[in-house]
Amino acid sequence: MAYFLGILLMALLAVVQSSVLARFPFLEGTPNLILLACVSWALTGRVVEAMLWAFFGGLFLDLLSGAPFGVSSMALVVAVYLASLTEGRFWEAHPLAPLGVVAIASIVYYGLTLAAVWLGGHPVDPTLALTQVILPSTFLNLLLALPASQLAGRVRQAAFPPPVRMG
């Protein structure tokens, strides 16, 4: 059920990303809602779901983009996998850990997307792309990283409460 609802949520977030966020650009960019949702969900420990959401979320993003189909999907799965590697580390429970994870995931995601777009024949100046697109977008993702991880944590608690041993 969580898989199915998650995929529907990803479709909705992709449409919101295209139709709503794009109308309100901030710092010449917009945060990536699907990246934030998937990484935040992975940080709650539901890594397999997060990866599948990333896969389908990426496909929805690619449907609404001129980028080669499948590229966002690949980049998001890699970003979520990297985020999942934090599980079990001693600093995992640090309240600021989502910031570091989202920063790395964002840079990996935008870097991979940029590489794919460039390989697809799209002329992109890497310096301008870094300073005018990747860094502002990563910053916007960072601004929303803590609220997103808090929200994901609460949803996780509500939807999948930890088992309680009786007696």
């Binding site: 992709a14 609404l64 983009s65 777009v117």
Partner: protein, 276 residues
């Protein structure tokens, strides 16, 4: 198998599937499936986009908002219903204003046939500048058709599905437009950087280019009709040791706030999108 390696395996599997989809898409095998998936997504996009535009219009008109508030106070019993009605009417008035502008433009070029289309979304990739419009092959839109507003050139149709199309903006780094400067009559090539900044390159050194000069499409190469306003020169960069001079251009059309555009439906480009 440990949890870490099973996750790595899952990630690898998903990446490989995505890679497979990428290859299938490059071969053109997913066009029909994408069109099918875009039907409901395009519908939702259009619905959300209309409401967001109405809300934005409401939020960005403080005078009108005060009027609305006063009206709400007078008609407290019907507040909710009237608010919805006012928002809808405001949107219609706004749309009528845009359409009137577009109609005026269309009348100045009676030789062209237009398809009006609502902008329903923008490209979600930060590296690609394109918009989604709510008209597709069902309305006669074809790949390569130029897209304009009453203020100037917007871009051209890059992808077409049955009910929606993707328009590559002139601010996309892949876009190339052959242009002519109105006063100096110099030819050049309009390109964009990844941040959307527009440049006219390949202007001959001997030509005197001044800020404020109008940039028009030249029609060379057959990708766009000639004499469509593209923008205005903002600054000129001229270096003695370079073969050509360049100029920064401000686009005529407000490409960040497009609501309705016109597709020139009877212009058949002779080159695919991306080529000059």
């Amino acid at each position: 198998m440990s949890r870490t390696s099973s996750r790595a395996l899952l990630a690898l599997t998903l990446v490989l599937i995505a890679g497979g989809l990428l290859i299938l898409n490059l071969g053109g095998y997913l066009q029909a499936a994408q069109g099918l998936a875009l039907r409901p997504l395009g519908g939702i996009q259009g619905w959300i986009s209309q409401r967001v535009l109405a809300l934005r219009t409401l939020l960005t008109s403080p005078t009108d908002l005060a009027e609305l508030t006063a009206e709400n106070q007078r008609l407290q019993a019907e507040v909710a219903r009237l608010e919805r009605e006012v928002i809808a009417l405001r949107e219609q008035a706004n749309e009528a204003e845009v359409l009137a502008g577009l109609l005026g433009y269309a009348r100045t070029r009676p030789e062209s046939r237009y398809v009006a289309a609502r902008v329903i979304g923008q490209d979600v990739s930060p590296f690609i500048r394109s918009i989604w419009i709510g008209q597709g092959s069902d309305a006669g839109v074809q790949q390569g058709m130029p897209v304009v507003t009453e203020r100037g050139l917007v871009g051209r149709v890059a992808e077409v599905y049955s009910t929606v199309s993707r328009v590559q903006l002139i601010t996309d780094p892949e876009s190339v437009v052959n242009v002519r400067l109105q006063t100096s009559r110099a030819d050049g090539v309009l390109r964009a950087r990844v941040n959307g900044e527009l440049w006219v390159d390949l202007i001959e050194q001997g030509v005197s280019v001044t800020p404020g000069e109008l940039v028009l499409s030249s029609g060379l190469g057959g990708a766009f009709p000639e004499d469509i306003p593209v923008g205005q020169i903002v600054t000129v960069r001229k270096r003695d040791y370079e073969l050509f001079q360049q100029a920064v251009v401000q686009a005529s059309a407000d490409l960040d706030n497009l609501e309705i555009v016109l597709v020139i439906a009877n212009f058949q480009p002779t080159v695919p999108p991306g080529a000059p």
